[in-house]
């Protein structure tokens, strides 16, 4: 099933399926690229940022960024 990264539940895992073109370069340096396995580590309340785990390291993303990333989940 596909969903936006911003819609993932806490501790849910998935594979990055699609990143909006204009965002691709921005997140690539943080280790988020298509095909990468990703896990939702923390969700902050009130439209706060999300923290995701990629390759054993954590990255925080603004909700607006997380909405533009599509993840395939189990």
């Amino acid at each position: 099933m596909e969903k936006k990264l911003s819609e993932m539940e806490f501790d849910e895992e998935g594979t990055v399926k699609e990143i909006k073109e204009n965002l691709r370069k921005q997140v690539a340096g943080m280790g988020i690229r298509e095909g990468k396995e990703i896990r939702m580590a923390t969700k902050q309340p009130i439209k706060g940022p999300v923290v995701v785990e990629v390759d054993k390291s954590f990255t925080s993303l603004g909700l607006g960024v997380a909405e533009k990333i599509v993840v395939e989940v189990g």
Partner: protein, 193 residues
């Protein structure tokens, strides 16, 4: 010759800087921005060499002012050797930046910093293999204790520019046609993964 310290935010560049310069630092304000960089001098084989602590950047596609400064400093110091400081426990992420810098034709030395942290996390990195693939010196370091610094400093003079096509070749085994048309526009490949 100048030496630029580059890397992601929070990988220990400033600890590096202080160790290499002996904290003989002066602060400098880059015109037009509020982002500071630090400049200092270090001894390299009997010569005093300028060392610049560049603001942390994730990539060379600037998204904020700090990264803009980082890119600008790289561009304004074409004759410098870049010591690319990576967090050894997040090595894949850092290699992206390292490759971008190598691609722009700079001589690079890769420092796998926080080696102790990586060891604690049971992360094993094949340094020689990485060195072979990248074609640039790779040195494990622990800036906080000073481990690996002697070796790092000794490798700075060895750094030489490497063609990105060469790295793709040694990483994937696929021969890459260069923009000059070498190989008659045959197969081309990109770094993936």
């Amino acid at each position: 010759m100048k030496i630029l310290l580059m890397g992601h935010p929070n990988v220990g560049k400033s600890v590096f800087f202080n160790r290499l310069t002996g904290a003989k630092v002066m602060e400098s304000n880059y015109p037009g921005t509020t982002v500071d960089f630090t400049k200092g001098w270090m001894r390299l084989e009997g010569e005093d060499v300028e060392l610049i602590d560049v603001p942390g950047a994730f990539s060379l596609e600037p998204k904020d002012r700090a990264e803009e400064v980082a890119v600008k400093m790289l561009e304004e110091n074409r004759d410098s050797v870049v010591v690319c400081v990576l967090d050894a426990s997040k090595v894949e992420r850092g290699l992206y930046l390292a490759l971008e810098i190598i691609e722009r034709g700079y001589p690079v030395v890769v420092a796998l910093n926080m080696w102790d942290v990586a060891e604690d996390k049971n992360i094993k990195i094949e340094v020689e293999k990485l060195e072979r693939i990248l074609g640039v010196p790779v040195v494990p370091t622990t800036a906080i204790s000073g481990e690996g610094f002697k070796e790092l400093v000794s490798k700075i003079k060895e750094a030489a520019p490497v063609k990105i096509e060469k790295i793709i070749e040694s990483a994937s085994g696929v021969r890459v046609a260069t923009s000059a048309g070498e190989g008659g526009g045959g197969e081309s490949a990109a770094v993936s993964g």
